[in-house]
Amino acid sequence: MNEILYETPQTLESAVALLAGASGQARVLAGGTDLLIQMRAGRVMPGLLVDIKGIPEMTAIVAESGGFRFGAAATCMELIEHEAFAKEWPGVTDAVKLIGSIQVKGRATVGGNLCNASPAADSVPALIAAGAVARIVGPGGKREARVEDIPVGPGKTSLADGEIVISFYLPPRSARSGDAYLRFTPRTEMDIAVVGAGVNLTLDETGICNQARVSLGAVAERALLVPEAAAALIGTKVDDDALQRLAAAASAACRPIADKRGTREFRIEVAGVLARRAAGIALDRARRNS
């Protein structure tokens, strides 16, 4: 068996240098809930593991410019337990709560959920709907990218070799805003999304929706931002008619696979239903935040 080197850099610069200087395959280790299983199965055989949990920027959850920034390697449990974050972003929090068991959430991270690039990742549609921006560092320095631009297909991201997602920024919340995430699974816990839907919307003083973002998971090769579905809400009071048009637009955006957990037709239908229901929850939350 080949020796696997293990490093625990304390700064982003040293993490980037370690990844850039690796002779064989190198992997970032955060929670390890995907990576250790892949290594055990022999699907990934890295020569170097770079454990980034000792880098302060990677694990901090802080208020920043009226919004929130949380480290890509903060655990799901740390995020769920952050009361101020959960109050501001209940939809993102609900999505993170759906990732695995308590034990898995004690290790798993949102950065890992994104970079593992499963089309069914629960936190990703919620982050896309929230308008989250990822901060990335690599050999070429730091850059920012919208979350929807990072996954490109199953197990594949747009990150360049040696790049690491450092953190996520969620923008300041205006009054009368709410977000929600729903997923369909055959079981209530410990399952993988057949369809996921995230909605984030803002109402004006008269109750008209003036901003909306809608994202779907598990209905394409990656989580989708669906502007047509958001457009069905903007300029309306999010009434039944608008919700029906949202559902139709969400279903129309799907290009799913069929597998043992759901047929193509089922996923397309359920995507519309979940988007409609998530919009209803987001609407209730927005009205309560007035």
């Binding site: 250790l36 695995g100 034990q103």
Partner: protein, 158 residues
């Protein structure tokens, strides 16, 4: 091949061990430190049999590398009873016959203790959701839930 020299705290006692990078904390606990109370079930984080706490955080030890234990505080089932005096959860598991084959039991006890540490008065639903990551193929779960609720009741009273 050079091994990692790891110093950590196991159930309050300082311990050190040597391990390869790919050895999990579960393998280290069982094979290097001979603490075999923590069980291996699936090895992929699905069953919860290998549950331990790391710095108070409930995790599957099969999804943690041994080398990651450096400087951490690990709690396993071996640290639950005080000498011959069982923890209330352990006593209630016996009273309620909340185990049969026993392979899931150490993980469930560790998980239940972590729940009661943060929520001393959980509802039945909260116990069921918290323990969703601990599979038991013998009991049908009801006796486990009853034992946890009864232990919580006793621990609140004392």
């Amino acid at each position: 091949m050079s091994k990692h020299h790891v110093t950590t705290t196991l159930n309050g006692n300082a311990v050190e061990f040597l391990c390869d990078t790919q050895q999990t904390l579960l393998e280290v606990l069982r094979d290097e430190l001979h603490h075999t109370g923590t069980k291996e079930g699936c090895g992929t984080g699905d069953c919860g049999a290998c549950s331990v706490t790391v710095d108070g955080r409930l995790v599957c030890s099969c999804l943690v590398l041994g080398v990651e234990a450096q400087g951490k505080s690990i709690q396993t089932i071996e640290g639950m009873a005080q000498g011959t005096s069982l923890h209330p959860l352990q006593r209630k598991f016996l009273e309620h016959a909340a185990l049969q084959c026993g392979v899931c039991t150490p993980g469930i006890l560790i998980a239940a203790r972590a729940l009661l540490a943060r929520n001393p008065d959980p509802s039945e639903e909260e116990v069921r959701f918290w323990l969703a990551g601990n599979l038991c193929r013998c009991t049908g779960y009801n006796k486990i839930i009853e034992a946890v609720l009864d232990a919580a009741h006793e621990m609140r009273g004392s």
